[in-house]
């Protein structure tokens, strides 16, 4: 399965080159990739229950393994991702015909496909999260694909910020989940329900995970990014923002239902948020005139319905959710592509300007009609079956209020199906319709196949039920679900209710034709205050906060940064090291006179350096400190260190002298260094802390294992008697390699800074002219 997930990523890498080499013919090659994966998923459908797990160790030390699981739920999603993916790739080839950045588009699209497959196939929580974030990132790139347009950039950023924030919550929630469940594998966590739900971590984990899922699946009040994302090219809208990515949240909810579902918190949060989203999406769909936006809002509504259906954790509603998931992906994918066709061929998506298209675009109309039948829930479409099951589920759960909500939403969606799927094709020919003509076959294949599938499954619903819906529901429920579908049961009150829904929907459609414009006028001021505006306020507030804290923290004064760094270090050391009992080492030997003398001399030289007011004295005293340290190395058996320190100290004095000779005369006093007592205080605290820490360390028994290992292995392994040198050039050679690289980099940087001066002897002015001289000191800051 790793190969399956990696294949689209490989295609993403290859896509730009193939487009450059083959031009638009490459699209047909591209379509083979998801088509092949689709066949793989079909061939593996049989293993969907109880599922199959494959694991590849990745970072075993961090419990991250690339383990993948294929069960009914992931199989259903895989089929949708690859199947609709194939059609979308073909469709995009036609839709983006002649676009200069076709290679980039397919690269991102394939990366998304791989990420999405990763999400639905991962069994490891960390892997799932990585793929989850990848879908957000690729979605960002696809929404902002027309990066020249400000609206596209804004929409892309909004989608990224909302789903990204949700992603952070999700990460925290998943970590808590793994902590509480005791495993990083979803398959293990699914079995842990009983004690997981008693864990104190259950509530915070659930809330955080819900935030992640709700943002991803555009639930109220995080829904505003989804209509905005319609700035993306239509193939992207059809693929990401209706059929696949927005369902990732629903997928994860379904996936975690066995572990997290069944509690009151789960029931009510999913039920209420889902119901609000369902109604809100349906209402807003009626208030839009842009065909794509109408569809986007119905997608919001459908996502609400799915979340709502997952709330009760019962077999009827879960089965209904899976059925609706399939139906929605089919008809919404088709309708989006149809909307793209109309936009592409008639030049507008404005519903008020679209009528009488049937003559010009008969195939598109046929596909749209098929999809609308499904969407409206009319008999002969798979939607009918799904609506039936939803009704059954509602009755079974006996929630009167939610049944009403679902019925109202259904009636509205019936009207929207007529608005979006039927009305553009009838009536008098509009100006747009007059110049429209049928789309190329690549752009017809998608809607026709998807609409046709809806019809086939509507005729033989048992096929979809046995092969797709029941296995998926089984995976969610954890027990084998079976599904008997009868197209017509009886003239009971439920059937009457369905008929009433249709009638209400039809009346709503007629009312929309007459009063739609008036509704929109009324609604506009209310819409302007929606969450989309709230998003703007939050962003502006964030920017203001960042500006304020930057002014405080980033004062641009080096001495404040230095002081702040030392204070923070001191606080952290005090907070972490000095807890509980703290033993200090005492003197165990009297030492030699020369040792005491060198120590005293070094300390004195240090203090002289601090107090020196002339350059010469300061440099000399600093050199004395260095020499003192070198002598200490010598006295305590470190000849290599002593020589190194001695050489370095000599060179330091040389270069300090070289520099200071050239700097103009100034006094090195501490005058003008700010509050003297504060600086002295910080310095004193730091010095005391280091001494105390070191004394504490010395009081601990010393672990000789490493020292002894090097002592024993130096000659036999390293063929050298100087253990220090053997460590440097053999045992720890990689470290040394890094260190000499740093030294070389410092030299190169210094040379570069100096060279720049050599090129611009006039002192160089920056691009901003005379405001301030542009320093050549850009490095190392």
């Amino acid at each position: 399965m790793l190969t399956v997930v990696l294949t689209p990523f490989a295609a993403a890498l290859a896509a730009p080159f193939l487009v450059a080499r083959l031009g638009e013919r490459a699209v047909f090659l591209f379509a083979l990739v998801p088509a092949g994966l689709f066949l793989w998923a079909l061939a593996n459908l049989g293993e969907a229950f109880p599922g199959r797990i494959e694991a590849t160790p990745w970072v075993p030390g961090l419990s991250a393994s690339l383990s993948f699981a294929l069960d009914g739920l992931s199989a259903l999603f895989t089929l949708l991702i690859t199947g609709i993916g194939t059609l979308v790739v073909l469709y995009a080839g036609g839709y983006l015909h002649g676009h200069p950045q076709l290679g980039r588009f397919f690269a991102i699209l394939f990366a998304f496909m791989g990420a999405m497959l990763g999400v639905v196939l991962s069994d490891n929580i960390l892997a799932l999260f990585v793929f989850w974030e990848l879908t957000s990132l690729t979605s960002y790139l696809l929404v902002g694909f027309e990066s020249g347009k400000a609206a596209a950039r804004r929409a892309a950023l909004q989608a990224l910020l909302i789903t990204g924030t949700g992603g952070l919550c999700l990460l925290a929630g998943l970590i808590l989940l793994a902590e509480a469940g005791g495993s990083w594998e979803l398959s293990d966590i699914a079995l842990a329900q009983s004690w997981l739900q008693d864990s104190p971590l259950y509530t915070p984990a659930l809330i955080l995970i819900l935030l992640g899922c709700f943002t991803k699946s555009a639930q109220f009040p995080f829904h505003s990014w989804l209509p905005g994302a319609m700035a993306a090219p239509t193939p992207v809208s059809a693929y990401l923002h209706s059929a696949t990515m927005v369902k990732a949240g629903v997928y994860l909810l379904a996936r975690l239902e066995p572990a997290l579902g069944g509690s009151e918190l789960w029931l009510y949060s999913l039920g209420i948020i889902g119901a609000i989203t369902m109604l809100l999406g349906a209402v807003f769909a009626l208030l839009e005139t842009d065909l794509k936006l109408v569809l986007a809002w119905t997608t919001v509504s459908a996502l609400g319905t799915l979340v709502f259906l997952l709330a009760p954790s019962q077999e009827p509603s879960v089965t209904a959710a899976m059925a609706f998931l399939l139906v929605h992906a089919l008809y919404k994918g088709a309708l989006f592509m149809v909307a793209g066709n109309i936009d592409h061929e008639a030049g507008t998506r404005d519903l008020t300007k679209l009528s009488g298209l049937m003559r010009a675009m008969p195939v598109t109309f046929a596909a749209a009609a098929l999809a609308s039948v499904s969407m409206a829930g009319l008999p002969a479409g798979l939607g009918w079956v799904a609506k039936e099951m939803i009704g059954t589920a509602k009755v079974a759960d006996n929630i009167g209020l939610t049944l009403t909500a679902a019925t109202v939403a259904n009636a509205m969606l019936f009207a929207v199906a007529a608005i979006a799927g039927i009305s553009p094709y009838f009536g008098a020919k509009s100006d747009a319709a007059a110049k429209a003509h049928e789309a190329p076959w690549t752009m017809l294949a998608g809607p026709v196949v998807l609409g046709g599938l809806g019809l086939i499954f509507g005729m033989v619903p048992q096929l979809a039920a046995d092969r797709l819906i029941a296995p998926a529901a089984s995976a969610v429920l954890g027990t084998k679900a079976t599904l008997e579908i009868t197209l017509f049961k009886a003239f009971d009150w439920k059937f009457m209710l369905t008929l009433a829904t249709f009638a209400a929907g039809a009346m709503l459609f007629i009312a929309w034709r007459r009063y739609g414009a008036a509704w929109r006028e009324r609604a506009d001021p209310i819409l302007a205050r929606g969450p989309d505006r709230g998003y703007d306020h939050v962003l502006a507030g964030l920017a203001a906060l960042a500006g304020w804290q930057t002014r405080i923290i980033q004062s641009g004064r080096l001495h404040r940064y230095v002081a702040a760094s030392f204070v923070v270090i001191a606080v952290m050391v005090i907070a972490s090291a000095f807890r509980g009992r703290f033993a200090l080492a005492g003197l165990t030997d009297t030492g030699r006179v020369i040792e005491w003398a060198v120590i005293a001399l070094t300390a004195a030289a240090a203090i002289v350096t601090a107090a020196a007011t002339t350059r010469l004295l300061a440099v000399t005293a600093l050199g004395m400190v260095g020499l003192g340290v070198a002598m200490l190395f010598m006295l305590f058996s470190a000849p290599d260190l002593a020589i190194t320190q001695f050489m370095v100290e000599t060179l330091v004095v040389v270069i300090l002298a070289l520099i200071l000779i050239r700097l103009p005369g100034f006094r090195l006093s501490a005058d003008g260094d700010g509050p003297r007592w504060l600086n002295l205080g910080i310095a004193g605290v730091m010095g005391t802390l280091v001494s105390l820490l070191l004394l504490g360390v010395l009081a601990e028994p010393f672990d000789m294992r490493l020292a002894e290992w090097f002592a024993a292995q130096s000659v036999p392994e390293g063929l050298g008697r100087n253990v220090v040198n053997v460590i440097l050039v053999d045992f720890r050679a990689l470290d040394t390699l890094g260190e000499i690289t740093v030294v070389a980099a410092a030299a190169m940087g210094a040379l570069a800074v100096m060279m720049r001066a050599a090129r611009k002897p006039d002192g160089g002015r920056g691009p901003d002219g005379g405001r301030a001289p542009d320093g050549g000191e850009g490095k190392g800051r």
Binding site: G556, F636, A638, G672, A683, G687, S691, G763, G776
Partner: protein, 119 residues
């Protein structure tokens, strides 16, 4: 002798911090050099001291004598000394350049990157 050296390290660090808190870039660099000395010495001391027993295996023997000094901190400190020198030199070049361009060694007067009154 380790505790006595621990006190010396404290003195070196205190002086280094005091120098680094200065608004004079040259003093800051002096402090930087001194801090390197203090830190190197602290690593050396933490690895324990021994006298007149450098970590050299006697010719003909295979294993280092038990009394010999701990080689690992010495190896760590050796590279640290050289890197510290590289950094100090780089900082000096920077200081010299800054002085040449801006005509000052006071850090509170170096405001090209972050001028007053802009966030």
């Amino acid at each position: 002798m380790e505790p006595a050296l621990a006190i010396l390290v404290g003195i070196l660090v205190a002086v280094a911090v005091w120098l680094m808190l200065s608004r004079n870039f040259v003093r800051l660099l002096l402090g930087f050099a001194m801090l390197g000395n203090g830190v190197n010495l602290s690593i050396f001391v933490a690895g324990r001291l021994s006298r007149e027993a450098p970590p050299l295996v006697v010719e003909g023997e295979v294993v280092l004598g038990a009394a010999a000094a701990n080689a690992l901190p010495q190896a760590l400190v050796l590279t640290a000394i050289v890197i510290g020198f590289g950094l100090l030199s780089f900082a000096l070049v920077l200081a010299w350049k800054a002085h040449e361009r801006l005509g000052t060694v006071r850090t509170d007067e170096m405001r090209v990157a972050e001028p007053e009154r802009t966030p």
